[in-house]
């Protein structure tokens, strides 16, 4: 660009209408210390700063000031002094303002060699800085790339480890499921067995109940009676009507159980029966029994209601069904 073109670009620059490359070329020209362009720019920048005054003023919301002051108080640091700022996408105010009022000394000196030297130094410095910046950037990028690669590898290893662990857990889970299934089957089988055992137990209970209902046999009763420690025994001897007859009578005073074993008693005539008496103050019927033809022995088990007072026992022949008091002949008799 010729100087004339650059001078014509001043109002466009101030209005913000230049293309980026044109703007950069113009700024480079300003750095060369062109006094005429600096002077022109000073005026046009002043025009630009005045343009907003031509707008109809609109006041911001009243609450904005309080918000702004409060937000400012939240800032970690008060006004910066030399902190570095990140690069901004557009012209920094400082960048623009740098040319509002250009440095006067280079423009006024008029010393061309000094200006050329300064400009050369600036260009060399700029080139060196750019080169150093590029190399530093490249080196920094390489380091970052290596760091990313290392992180990627590390993450891959971790991922593989996690995948292995996941597979292991899935396998364990499958085994647990299989085990649970098996245990469920076992449990079902055990349940069937329990049901079967319960059925068997019910049968046994029923059998036991049936057995209990049938009652104990005489032998059972004798066995029980013989195991009682303080069992009492009474020997019965035959009277005149049955000299060859005899018997033994065992009883337990605690349970009031009595067991009679009689042998060689004559056959009961028709319409009669033998009746056992416990004799205390008066005779008390214990029970009746019958001796049929051909029988030589008989066992009787009874419960005595008033046993404590009994001192003698006797068996008489009475009419069928027995009598409240002895009326017939005594066949067997014994005393405690």
């Amino acid at each position: 660009m010729t100087h004339e073109e650059l001078e014509e670009a001043v109002p466009l620059y101030a209005a913000g209408a230049l293309e980026r490359t044109e703007r950069q070329a113009f700024e480079a020209h300003l750095l060369s210390g062109c006094a005429a362009c600096h002077a022109a720019l000073k005026e046009y920048q002043s025009v630009a700063a005045l343009l907003p005054f031509g707008l109809s003023p609109v006041q911001p919301p009243r609450s904005l000031k309080a918000k702004t002051m409060a937000s400012r108080n939240l800032l970690p640091v008060a006004p910066e002094s030399s902190a570095k700022e990140p690069p901004r996408p557009s012209l920094e105010p400082g960048e623009w303002m740098n040319h509002l009022f250009p440095p006067i000394a280079p423009a006024r000196s008029g010393s061309l060699p000094w200006v050329i030297g300064f400009a050369s130094l600036l260009v060399l410095g700029g080139a060196g800085y750019l080169g150093w910046n590029y190399v530093t950037q490249l080196s920094s990028d390489s380091i970052k790339l290596e760091q990313f690669s290392a992180r990627l590898q590390e993450q891959s290893v971790k991922l593989a480890s996690v995948q292995r662990e996941l597979a292991e857990r899935e396998r364990t889970l499958f085994e647990l499921r299989e085990d649970m299934h098996k245990r469920t089957l076992d449990f079902a089988e055990l349940k069937d067995q329990i049901i079967q055992r319960e059925a068997e137990l019910d049968d046994l209970h029923n059998q036991l109940a049936a057995t209990s209902k049938r009652g104990r046999t005489i032998q059972d009763e004798l066995a029980v009676l013989l195991r009682v420690p303080d069992i009492q025994a009474v020997s019965l001897a035959g009277g005149d009507m049955a000299k060859g007859a005899g018997g033994v009578l065992l009883f337990d005073s605690r349970t009031q159980k009595l067991w009679l074993y009689a042998v060689n008693l004559p056959e009961c005539p028709t319409g009669t029966t033998y009746q056992l008496w416990a004799i205390g103050d008066k005779p008390t019927s214990v029970g009746t029994f019958h001796m049929d033809s051909g029988e030589t022995a008989h066992m009787l088990v009874k419960r005595l209601p008033d046993f404590s007072k009994a001192k003698q026992f006797a068996i008489s022949l009475e009419p069928a069904g027995g009598r409240p008091q002895p009326t017939g002949t005594v066949y067997l008799k014994g005393s405690l």
Binding site: S46, V47, P52, L55, P57, V58, Q59, P60, S90, N98
Partner: protein, 200 residues
């Protein structure tokens, strides 16, 4: 209780910024009072949305609070620094929302008042501010509409002269000439103001 001395927005004392640099909250509050209407108006003109403009203005002031140490009185007035910062950030935001233009357009001509309600002078707008507003408004109104439009598209919408030429379907040279002539006329009209006040 005496109120702080008022300064015209365009003549904000650089000493006020020097106090802000030292963390003076009262100075920051005064800076806000003196400049918020101008900067909000600018942001609203560029973004066309009140909420977005308010959000941007908050960001701008926070940036001012952080970067005020960078301000160099030898390189420009406080208001020029604030205007430049606000315009730059608003255009950044405008470019960020691709495919979405401003919701309404103000212009540099006299029709602006019809579309943007004039709420009257700000409580902090001084007589000098009002006079300057009238002066700048008259200077802009005196421009041919084509020149106003070209400057407006560059300044408030951040378009380059090539983009403006494409948008208006005009030759590039024509657009450049319009901007140059318009800016030159404004310079000639307004020069007396800053030369008298030596405000630049």
């Amino acid at each position: 209780m005496s109120s702080p001395p008022r300064h015209a927005t365009f003549t904000i004392d650089p000493a006020l910024l020097a106090r802000v640099v030292k963390g003076d909250q009262q100075a920051f509050s005064q800076l806000y009072d003196h400049s918020n209407t101008l900067l909000y108006t600018l942001a609203l003109r560029i973004l066309g949305n009140r909420e977005e403009a308010a959000e941007l203005l908050q960001d701008v002031y926070l940036e001012v609070w952080r970067k005020v140490a960078r301000y160099d009185v030898g390189r420009g007035t406080p208001v020029a620094w604030l205007v430049t910062l606000t315009r730059s950030r608003a255009l950044d935001r405008l470019r960020d929302r691709t495919g979405r233009g401003p919701q309404y357009k103000d212009s540099l001509d006299g029709d602006a008042a019809a579309r943007m309600p004039d709420l009257g002078p700000s409580p902090f707008e001084t007589q000098a501010d009002q006079e300057l507003r009238v002066l700048v408004g008259q200077a802009i109104s005196a421009l041919p509409a084509a020149q106003q439009q070209a400057i407006e598209l560059a300044y408030y919408e951040g378009l380059s002269h090539m983009e403006i030429a494409t948008k208006l379907n005009q030759p590039l040279g024509t657009v450049k000439t319009r901007i140059k002539l318009g800016m030159a006329k404004l310079r000639d009209t307004l020069r007396t103001y800053w030369e008298q006040g030596d405000v630049t």
